[in-house]
């Protein structure tokens, strides 16, 4: 199973639910890697008509073709499979531009994918509370260095080195919806050079 129970944390830390089919004029689904499982699970609960109004945007990441053929076989009105979030971004924006009120948005997979797609959907005008999310797969985090503002993807250890400025950063649960990233703060600011041993917190 690729589902994760996140321990309770501070208020800004996002929490995720379980996707359910809701009535709507259209269904925009954005997923990466094991997020495909959540869509396949949801598929067990809906009839064929549902997919005619659906648009799936999928980024397999390391899962290769494990899920993509199953997703394609669902028969969504539109299906796109792309190499990276960046590559899919213009399609996501265009899809949001074209849809009307009543479109349901479903995000699933890694926190990085859900956070970034959530930003696009809320910028397009959907209240964030109306967007469904379900976490699946890796718990690696998208982190912003509060010092240089650089973003490091797929952080799995605490502390970690900022991929931009090289500082050792403490992984905080503080989260920004605007940049869809957690906050990394210099771990040895008070006592330069005193850097705790790295622990692998996320997989």
């Amino acid at each position: 199973m690729s589902k994760t129970e996140f321990p309770p944390s501070i208020k800004s830390r996002p929490v995720y639910g379980e996707l359910e089919a809701r009535p709507g004029g259209g269904h925009l689904m954005i997923a990466d890697a094991e997020g495909a499982e959540a869509i396949l699970d949801l598929a067990k609960t809906v009839d064929k008509d549902f997919w005619a109004k659906a648009h799936i945007i999928y980024i397999p990441k390391k899962t290769g073709t494990k899920y993509s053929s199953q997703l394609e076989a669902l028969g969504a009105g539109q299906y796109y499979c792309g190499p990276s979030y960046e590559a899919a971004q213009s399609r996501i924006r265009r899809a949001l531009q074209d849809c009307h009120m009543g479109t349901q948005v479903y995000l699933t997979g890694t926190e990085s994918l859900m956070g970034q797609a959530m930003y696009e959907a809320t910028s397009a005008g959907i209240p964030h509370t109306a967007i469904q999310t379900e976490h699946r797969g890796s718990t690696a985090r998208r982190m912003q260095c509060v010092h240089c503002k650089g973003i490091t993807e797929d952080v799995t250890t605490d502390p970690f080195e900022c991929s931009h400025c090289g500082l050792s950063l403490f992984v905080r649960d503080h989260y920004s919806r605007r940049i869809a990233a957690f906050q990394g703060v210099r771990v040895d600011a008070e006592d330069p050079g005193n850097i705790p041993e790295k622990v692998e917190l996320f997989k």
Partner: protein
């Protein structure tokens, strides 16, 4: 009384009948000076000294929110009502001094919206008039769909059509015209918020249709002030102030508390804002909840009551006031 918001002393500057049912009132600050600015959708509670009775009714402000010179409200006469609107129509004259509350907004625009879709029924047009002033000043995108009984009862329909050409759509009941809500909602761009003010049936229709069509709850806004319902007289024991208060047939529980000198908070007096929520200490009987503030669970729980619109039938009711 300290229970509502701060009060404003005003003078009636104009009383203008608009049609068979609606009269418009304009208030300026007594002794001169500006009134507080407000935001579109705000209301004021007008105090009416009707003999021994003080009537307090909430009315939406319809003037330009940026105009501090005067406030304007429109009052629809309700002959079956408890007397507030009739008092406004028959007793309020130009030059009269009155007391109104500072504006309170329970129906504000969500300024994150990319487009504002307004649905009005009858006198429900008034909050939208201030909102449209505000949006027109800001360059906001909006459209109004306004349902009226007949052209002659289409309060402000003509002047709004002239003021905002292409944005105002009027539907006449007597000509069998009706808002095609599903079609209207289906074609709204992402980021649209819908606002409805009118009769209860219309409000429920909009909430229900929008929800069935997958609209987020947060993008649907409504306002309806309820008149306090009449009912059998009952007795209330107030534990904090140690008083026993009689609530008359045509009096609300809130009005009875006020008449007894008990400090009871309020903002809307119409079951919408939640300000007057009161804890129930004990009861033997049944509640007649009329508000749309408490959840169904709370209503069934017997621990809370909204004194502005709700009543009680039974032997004893003890409140935390």
């Amino acid at each position: 009384m300290s229970a509502g918001t701060a009060k404003l002393n005003v003078t009636v500057a104009e009383v203008k009948p608009i049609n068979d049912l609606v009269t418009r009132f304009k208030f300026v600050r007594t002794g001169g000076g500006g009134l507080p600015t407000f935001s579109g959708g705000a209301h004021t509670v007008v105090e009416m000294q009707d003999g021994d009775i003080t009537r307090l009714n909430a009315y939406s402000l319809m003037s330009n929110p940026a105009d501090r010179g005067a406030y304007t409200i429109s009052v629809r006469r309700d002959d079956q009502g408890r007397g507030g609107s009739k008092f406004m129509h028959s007793k309020v004259k130009e030059g009269m001094e009155m007391v109104i509350s500072n504006p309170v907004n329970l129906f504000s625009l969500d300024l994150r919206a990319k487009k504002h879709l307004m649905l009005a029924g009858g006198i429900g047009i008034t909050p939208f008039m201030a909102q449209m002033h505000q949006l027109a000043m800001m360059g906001g995108r909006f459209e109004l769909h306004y349902s009226v009984r007949t052209a002659s009862l289409g309060t402000y329909a003509k002047e709004l059509t002239e003021r905002y050409p292409g944005k105002v759509h009027v539907y006449h009941d007597d000509q069998k015209e009706a808002i095609d809500l599903p079609a209207l909602l289906a074609n709204q761009p992402l980021g649209t918020h819908v606002y409805v003010c009118g009769p209860k049936g219309m409000i429920n229709w909009v909430h229900g249709t929008a929800s069935e069509m997958g609209w987020p709850r947060e993008a649907v806004h409504s306002e309806e002030f309820l008149a306090p319902a009449s009912g059998k007289p009952f007795e209330v024991k107030c534990a904090v102030s140690n008083k026993v208060v009689q609530v008359g047939e045509h009096q609300s529980l809130l009005e009875a508390l006020e008449a007894a000198g008990i400090d009871a908070p309020y903002l809307c007096r119409g079951g919408a804002c939640g300000q007057c929520e009161t804890n129930v200490i004990g009861y033997d009987g049944k509640f007649l909840h009329h508000d749309h503030w408490l959840t169904d669970e709370q209503k069934a729980g017997g621990k809370h009551i909204m004194p502005c619109v709700s009543r009680f039938e039974g032997k004893t009711l003890v409140l935390d006031r």
